[in-house]
Amino acid sequence: MMRTLLVRGLLAGLLGGVVAAVFAYVVGQPLMDAAIEVEEAAAHGHDHGDPLVGRGVQSTFGLLVAHAAYGVAIGGLFSLLFALAYGRFGAWSPRAYAAVLATGAFLAVSLVPFLAYPANPPGVGEASSVNARTAAYFGLLAISVVAAGIALYVATRLTGRWGGFNTGIALTAGYLAVVTVSGVLLPGFDEADGFPAELLWDFRVAALGNLVVFWVVLGVAFGALAQRSLPAHASASAQATGLRQAGAS
């Protein structure tokens, strides 16, 4: 069963990556080009010199490969998350699990790091700080994923005692407290000086939209595939319970 889910995850991730790449090309690339123009016009801009890989390749094939690789990797990890969670939170259908997990994963993997360290177009961000920015971004990403993972595990233990609603509220609040404090304590970077504000905003919205497109396609596609490969099992105990209730009434 795990093998089946893994293949489904890789396929759904690939589809999500390809669809997101199309979105990124249509919505994001014009903004990318505009940002590179601003970058090159600015005298203090980071000098790229002659690109090793032409802009035409970077903005098409490179864009597609980057998204596809990201999609396959995340899709594989998503199938593991699904396999671990499925059947452990309640009697939902496979596609309901996929939808809830994809929403949660988007929150923990994409949105929370984005809110603290939003996407930057070329021309924003100093070359000298890239290592610090990378460390801070992945540090917050790691904290967010670990905190969400702990919350999920605790939820499986607590739901029986507190009920799903109270458990969900308490653990969501705990998760948000952890990532909020982490985001405040981790270093901030103020490196957009002189860059057009409207273009920066549009680029960030496009990048966030790109991530939303990816996670929505992954969640829906994986849910549809898993729904077919995991037929709803009416277990013997559930049937027995149902029959007893029918007989007693």
Partner: protein, 69 residues
């Protein structure tokens, strides 16, 4: 006479952790390696001195909101 008959809700059967674990280890390692290539700015410096991989994946990295130069 009408009688309410409880229809059993389909019960999802969870997958044993033992079955997931080997896949989890292998997929995690491979996926993190792939994500390292796509998402980090300095992969090219450490793994390919010329920076081809870095530039090839440049636009995707920016639009997927990863930090870059």
């Amino acid at each position: 006479m009408t009688q309410a008959v409880a229809i059993p809700a389909p019960q999802p059967v969870s997958i044993p952790i033992r079955e997931i674990l080997p896949y989890a280890i292998l997929v995690s390692v491979l996926a993190l390696a792939a994500l390292y290539f796509v998402s980090t700015d300095n992969n090219a410096m450490t793994l390919m001195a010329e920076g081809y991989v870095h530039e090839f994946l440049h636009d995707g990295r920016h639009l997927m909101a990863f930090p870059c130069h």
